[in-house]
C-alpha cells in the first residue's frame, strides 16, 4: 500500500512538470507579480502612516512575511487539485477508481502530495534569491530548529487544507458544479489564513475568534514559526487545534462520502 501511495505521488509529480514553459513562466511571473503588488502597497502604507512599525512589523519584516507566505501557501495548497474529486464524481470517472486496489481518497491525497514538487522548487529557488532582491530585516531568527518545525507544520497544514476542501468537493454528489465553493474557500482561507494580510493586523477580537478556526493555521502559523515568533508552548497548542480540525473535517467528509456514494450512479455527463 505504501509503495503504491508513493507511486501515485511520483506519477502526479511527473504530470505537474510536463508543461515546462508554462511552469517556468507561471512560476516566475506569478511570484514577482504577487510580491510587486505587496511591495508597492506596503511601501505606500508605511510612507503614509509615517510610522516604522505597523501591527508589530517593520517594513522589512513585512516584506519577509509576504515572501514566505507566498511560497509556503503554495506548499499548503498544492497545485491545481481544486476540483479533481468533484470532476471525477461529475463525469463518472469515480467508477474507475472503485476498481483500484487503494481507497479513492487516499489515492487523491497521494496526488495532492505529488503536486507539491513545483511548489517545493519555487520555495528553494525564490527562497535563495529573495534576500538579494528584497530588503530583509538585518537579524533573522530563522534557525535549523525553526525550519524543521515549520516543515512539519506545513505538512500538517497541507493535510488540513486537503480536508478543508474535501467536503466542499464531495458536494458534487448533489450539485453539478462545485467549482464556486472551492474558489470561495480559497478567498476566505486567503484572507483569514494570513495569505493576504498578517493576522496581527486584525482587531484583537477577530484574532481571538480566528485562533479557534482552521484558517489561522494554514499560512500565518507556519510562517511565524519559521521566523521564530511563536513559542514552543503555542506551537503545541496550534498543532493540537490543527489535529482537532483535521479529525472533525475528515469525519464530516467521511459522512458525506458515505451518503454521496449511495446516490452515485456512475453515469456521469
Amino acid at each position: 500500500m505504501t509503495l503504491l501511495f508513493f507511486k501515485i505521488v511520483n506519477l502526479e509529480l511527473r504530470k505537474q512538470m510536463s508543461y515546462r514553459v508554462d511552469f517556468w513562466v507561471n512560476t516566475v511571473v506569478s511570484f514577482f507579480a504577487a510580491m510587486g503588488v505587496m511591495y508597492f502597497l506596503w511601501d505606500a502604507i508605511f510612507t503614509a502612516s509615517e510610522t516604522e512599525i505597523i501591527g508589530g512589523y517593520s517594513q522589512k519584516e513585512m516584506i519577509l512575511y509576504y515572501v514566505l507566505v507566498i511560497l509556503i501557501a503554495k506548499l499548503v495548497r498544492g497545485s491545481n487539485q481544486m476540483t479533481g474529486i468533484a470532476g471525477d464524481i461529475y463525469t463518472g470517472e469515480l467508477t474507475k477508481y472503485h476498481l483500484f486496489p487503494t481507497p479513492y481518497l487516499t489515492f487523491k491525497y497521494a496526488e495532492h502530495l505529488g503536486s507539491l514538487l513545483p511548489a517545493l522548487i519555487q520555495l528553494v529557488l525564490f527562497g535563495a534569491l529573495s534576500p538579494f532582491i528584497f530588503a530583509f530585516p538585518d537579524s533573522l531568527n530563522i534557525t535549523p530548529l525553526s525550519i524543521i518545525t515549520c516543515a512539519n507544520v506545513v505538512l500538517l497544514a497541507n493535510l488540513l487544507f486537503f480536508t478543508l476542501t474535501l467536503p466542499l468537493q464531495l458536494v458534487a454528489f448533489w450539485a453539478d458544479n462545485v467549482w464556486s465553493l472551492v474558489v470561495m474557500n480559497h478567498f476566505i482561507s486567503g484572507l483569514l489564513g494570513g495569505a493576504m494580510l498578517p493576522l496581527e493586523l486584525f482587531p484583537d477580537w477577530a484574532r481571538t475568534v480566528l485562533n479557534f478556526t482552521p484558517f489561522a493555521y494554514l499560512y500565518h502559523f507556519p510562517v511565524r514559526i519559521l521566523t521564530g515568533h511563536i513559542q514552543a508552548e503555542q506551537i503545541w497548542i496550534g498543532v493540537g487545534v490543527m489535529i482537532c480540525w483535521i479529525i472533525i473535517l475528515s469525519a464530516g467528509s467521511w459522512f458525506i462520502w458515505r451518503k454521496g456514494n449511495k446516490l452515485y450512479t456512475g453515469v456521469g455527463i
Binding site: V21, D43, L201
Partner: protein, 262 residues
C-alpha cells in the same frame, strides 16, 4: 451589426435556459462572487485600521475604486470569462474547426457565445455596491463626472477582455491546459490596487503594455481629481493599440492552428 445583435440574443436565450438547469451552481456562483467582494472590502478595511491614506486615497475613495473594479469584473465574468476558459480546450481538441467555418467573426463568436447568466446577478450586486459607495461618499460628483467614470469603466471591461484574450491565445503554440491564464489571474492583482501606489518602470508598464491600472483605477481618478483629458486620451489610445495588437495576434494564431487535436 443587426446580424450580430440577433446572434447575441440567441446566445442569451441559450445561456439563461442552461443556467436554470443548474440551479444550485447558479446559487453557489452568486455566493462566491459576494464572498470575493466582501474579502476585498475587509482587506482594505483592516489596512485602513492602521493608516488613513493609501497612495493618497482615503477609505471612501478606495471603496468607490474597488466597487468600480467589482463592476468591471462582474461584466467580464458575465460576458467573457466562460468563453475564454473554454477556448484552450477547443484549440487542443481540434473543436475550433466548428467555429471557424461559421459566417461570423470567429473572435466575436468564441468570445461571446456563452453568457454566464449566473454571474448576471452578481453584475446587479456589483452595480448596487457601486451606487452605495458613491452615495456614501462625503464629497459630491457632477453628473458629467459620473458619466465619464462609467464610460471609462466600460472601456476598462473592454481592456480586461483584451488583456485576458492575449494571455489565452498562446495556447495555439503551447497546447497547455489553460494557456497563460493563471498568469493573467496573477497579474490581475495589479488592477485590484489603487494606481497611485505604483511608481517608476512598474507604473509605466502597468499603464501601457499591461494596462491593468486603466481598468478601474484611472476611471476612479476622474471622480477624485475632476475631468482630466489626459486620462481620457491615454485610455483611448491604449485601448486602440491593444485592439490592433489583439487582431494581429488572433490572426497569427489562427494561421498556426493545425486542426489536429492533442
Amino acid at each position: 451589426m443587426g446580424r450580430y445583435s440577433k446572434l447575441y440574443l440567441y446566445f442569451l436565450r441559450f445561456s439563461f435556459s442552461r443556467a436554470m438547469e443548474f440551479r444550485l451552481d447558479f446559487f453557489f456562483r452568486i455566493v462566491m462572487d459576494t464572498v470575493y467582494y466582501a474579502v476585498h472590502i475587509i482587506f482594505f478595511g483592516v489596512i485602513y485600521g492602521h493608516t488613513s491614506m493609501v497612495g493618497g486615497w482615503n477609505f471612501d475613495q478606495v471603496l468607490i475604486f474597488m466597487c468600480g473594479f467589482f463592476l468591471v469584473d462582474a461584466l467580464h465574468m458575465t460576458v467573457h470569462a466562460n468563453n475564454l476558459w473554454a477556448l484552450p480546450e477547443y484549440v487542443n481538441k481540434g473543436h475550433l474547426d466548428y467555429y471557424l467555418i461559421r459566417p461570423v467573426s470567429s473572435l466575436f463568436f468564441l468570445s461571446h457565445r456563452d453568457f454566464a447568466a449566473n454571474s448576471f446577478v452578481n453584475l446587479i450586486i456589483a452595480a448596487s455596491m457601486l451606487i452605495w459607495a458613491i452615495l456614501r461618499y462625503p464629497g459630491e460628483f457632477s453628473p458629467l463626472q459620473i458619466m465619464v467614470f462609467l464610460g471609462l469603466l466600460l472601456n476598462g471591461a473592454y481592456l480586461y477582455w483584451l488583456i485576458h484574450m492575449c494571455f489565452v491565445i498562446p495556447v495555439f503554440w503551447t497546447h497547455s491546459a489553460h494557456g497563460f491564464q493563471m498568469l493573467f489571474y496573477s497579474l490581475k492583482q495589479f488592477a485590484e490596487r489603487p494606481d497611485p501606489i505604483f511608481q517608476g518602470l512598474m507604473r509605466r508598464t502597468l499603464t501601457t503594455i499591461l494596462p491593468f491600472l486603466l481598468i478601474a483605477s484611472y476611471p476612479a481618478r476622474i471622480l477624485f481629481e475632476g475631468l482630466n483629458t489626459t486620462i481620457l486620451i491615454h485610455s483611448g489610445l491604449v485601448s486602440l493599440g491593444l485592439t490592433i495588437f489583439l487582431l494581429w495576434f488572433w490572426n497569427k494564431a489562427l494561421r498556426s492552428y493545425s486542426s489536429a487535436s492533442s
